[in-house]
């Protein structure tokens, strides 16, 4: 059980959604995340880069359906930070 720790990197709306989408699955395609968030390529790319630089997600490029695609997944560090942040939110809003 990760301890409650507010994380402002994760708190930002778009990044919170990215982490929430990635948390329950092993990985998701860039385009799928983009469609869920309804943001532009450049905006998602920048958030992905920020999370990657914090070692919260890992980025894998792989060819799928004859196209190079980007897959995103939470790292262990990222999962711990995400769960810690969710715990912090719950503490603030009182469960």
């Amino acid at each position: 059980m990760s301890k409650a720790c507010f994380d402002s990197l994760i708190h930002a709306h778009n990044r919170l959604q990215i982490c929430a989408l990635l948390h329950p699955v092993s990985e998701l395609e860039f385009s799928v995340v983009k469609a869920q968030l309804e943001v532009s390529d450049s905006v998602l790319s920048k958030h992905v880069k920020a999370l990657e630089q914090a070692n919260y997600i890992s980025v894998a490029k792989r060819v799928s359906l004859s196209r190079p695609r980007t897959w995103l997944s939470l790292t262990e560090l990222g999962e711990a930070a995400y769960l810690g942040h969710v715990a912090a939110l719950r503490e603030i809003v009182g469960l």
Copy 2:
């Protein structure tokens, strides 16, 4: 029951805490909120002003213990927005 609606004004860390503190009570003193958030007078004053201008909180100045003090309370609009935002957060993080 208020419907889930992400509210970026409320989402900011300090303002989320302000709303969360005010939600369960009828009102709180400025100095009490300030002590809870551990922020400076000017920072709290500016967030209070932002929430007040959105009609999310009401500000009452009243003399108490022979000093003019400021009391804060959520308006109905503010409570609805807060609950809507919490609902949106729950939708994002999955309960």
